[in-house]
Amino acid sequence: MIESPKIGIFEIFSRDELYRIHTATLELLERTGVRVEEEKALELLNSIGADVNFSTKIVKIPKHIVEDAIKYSARTVQFAGRNKKFDLKLEGKRVNFGLGEGAINILDYETGSIRPSTKSDIINATKLADALSNIDFVMPLFTAQDVPKQVMPLHDLHASLKNTEKPIMVVDFGLDATYLINMAASVVGGRDKLKDRPILGMYSEPISPLTHGREHTRNLIEFAKAELPIVYIPSPASCSTAPATMAGAIVQSNAETLSGNVIAQFSKKGARFIYGADTTNMDQRTGVFSYGAPEWMIVNLAMAQLGRHYELPIWSTGGCSDSKVLDGQATLEASLSLFVAASSGANLIHDVGSFLNFGLTGSLELITICDEIISMISYILKGVEVTDESLALDVIDKVGPGGQFITQEHTLKFFKKEHWMPKLLDRQTRSTWEKTGSKDLATRAHERTKEILSKHQPTPLSKDIENDLDNELRKAEKKILQK
């Protein structure tokens, strides 16, 4: 967590450009509009004065409605942990980091092979995130490939709720969000209490270009009414589901997330909406949705600047890679994307240390490595404190030309506070490094991961609550599988 980065936030648009992006977005929503597949949302939009065509499901939204929705939005979103000490306040330039979600494979470090992920992999990733001090919120990094597909999101959440006290963000995957809300409610003592202690947030997506899918829209409304944090952002790929020009892709992304906000705010004023876009490019040789692309990073900067202009909490992405293995490319793409996202001042940065193979494969070791990267970034973004004491004129005067600082009180007092200490990065001399096994970063990350998993016990739920949660899962499973 970076409470208030001192360093100037990285901004890419001039005021004039920002204004043009904003007005182009409003023009798009008024002229082209969006398709809304959910009947209830069409009626809602019709009732507030949008131009709704019920047969084509195209909704053209006048700009005052879009701007009103921005005004109604929560300026600050509380995202609670099961334990209060992990509560997050999403506002201003407070930067928080969390895992990615939805990987279908795990890179098994010991065998070097990639295999389908299971519920126990979610448990391990969650435990690890619970232990690492630079991870602020948790997403079920893996999907439980060992349960029926229709109920997978329930098990993803079930594993998360049991193994971390940090705030949890889950993906709806089009499943009725009521089930997810009920499960989280069983942990905090009911739906009303969940409003005060929102330990669950939902990540859902419009379908680019410009379509609000039926289930996703239903869930957006459901979460808005439940007053829980909602990340509702598009994932277009420039050149395929968004224009080739980055400005065009940004305008479209902005229109997609802001029209989602219209549905959320007019369903429940003050809805806890989190703004952003996971926009990248479609790789022109392979067609993949690239997770390491600089295009995604620049969109993160753009969306953060727009989000701050709207005074909405901001979602962002970092710590992921297109690489298939834990190699130089993986750490390079993870580091750069994390640094860019953090320096944009975004409030929730997901996909930390989790994704290889364009989001399809998760790696526990990469989480551990990213914890170190974030720690380094946090150090940089905190900047340099300038006070009489930190300017150190007295001690410099005392030492004078030709002396040394190592034995000075001033040094002893400040060295810990002023300096960053690596936990994972290697600074041994070559001979010591060789004597300790010549271990590379991946090996060290694996050892640390194993050690944490063998030692760390997340605070468990009480027996009663655990029973309630298990019951809630069984009830939901039965209902869904009977259908």
Partner: protein, 238 residues
């Protein structure tokens, strides 16, 4: 030689004549497709038809040129948007100018096989499916694109009514993935499963899943999908 004929066999002497007569037109068609000049392609086809050239032969020339586009993509010289754009231009001239004429003379034109492709019920993600469809078309297959949110019934109807060789199903959401299984089960119930090959794709699809639901194959990208279809239909790479 780049002429592949599976369903409609053209007598050998005809191919011979085609190659001599068509060389100039074929060259122009190839140039238009390789430079992505849609207008030029349309113009060439129109002029050739006015001159009385055989639509069947023009179609062969387009197929050959598309194959070259595909090769250029495989070798990294062409990019995906160029490949798709060439495919779309070819599709337009075939459906607007050549198909109506071919129908009149009772010919379907030549192709490697018919693929019925769609995103399964409950899922409206389009782009992955469309790229695969475009690549298969470029490779020489006839495509029946059923769109998105395609029910098992719709797949069955298509298989029942047409000469479908392969059913290709896409799904992006883990919650809509089970529709791939349901569609296969529905095909079995109607005794259609043995009549077609079934392939599945989409970001959450794995090889294990494809095996589990009894699909004939899975591919994790569009180029692989083309190779897979050729493999399961026993079409040799040329």
């Amino acid at each position: 030689m780049n002429v592949i004929i599976i369903r409609k066999t053209i007598p050998f002497y005809k191919i011979h004549i085609l190659l001599i007569h068509m060389s100039e037109t074929a060259h122009e068609i190839k140039e238009a497709l390789l430079t992505l000049d849609r207008e030029k392609l349309i113009q060439t086809i129109k002029t050739s038809l006015d001159k009385g050239e055989n639509p069947q032969e023009l179609l062969s020339a387009i197929t050959a040129a598309l194959r070259e586009v595909g090769d250029k993509f495989e070798s990294g010289e062409f990019f995906l948007v160029e490949l798709v754009s060439a495919g779309e231009a070819a599709k337009t001239v075939i459906s607007e100018y050549l198909k109506p004429l071919l129908k009149k003379i009772g010919s379907e034109g030549e192709h490697l096989g018919v693929i019925a492709i769609g995103t399964v019920a409950g899922d409206i993600h389009d782009i992955g499916k469309s790229i695969v469809a475009s690549m298969l078309f470029t490779a020489g297959f006839e495509i029946l694109d059923l769109g998105v949110d395609v029910s098992a019934e719709k797949f069955i109807e298509t298989v029942t009514n047409g000469n479908v060789d392969v059913v290709a199903m896409s799904a992006l959401l883990s919650t809509t993935l089970p529709m791939q299984r349901e569609t296969i089960e529905a095909l079995k119930k109607k005794d259609l499963r043995d009549k077609v090959k079934v392939i599945v794709g989409g970001s959450p699809v794995t090889e294990e899943w494809a095996k589990e639901i009894g699909a004939d194959g899975f591919a994790d990208n569009a180029s692989e999908a083309v190779r897979l279809v050729k493999k399961i239909l026993d079409i040799s790479e040329q």
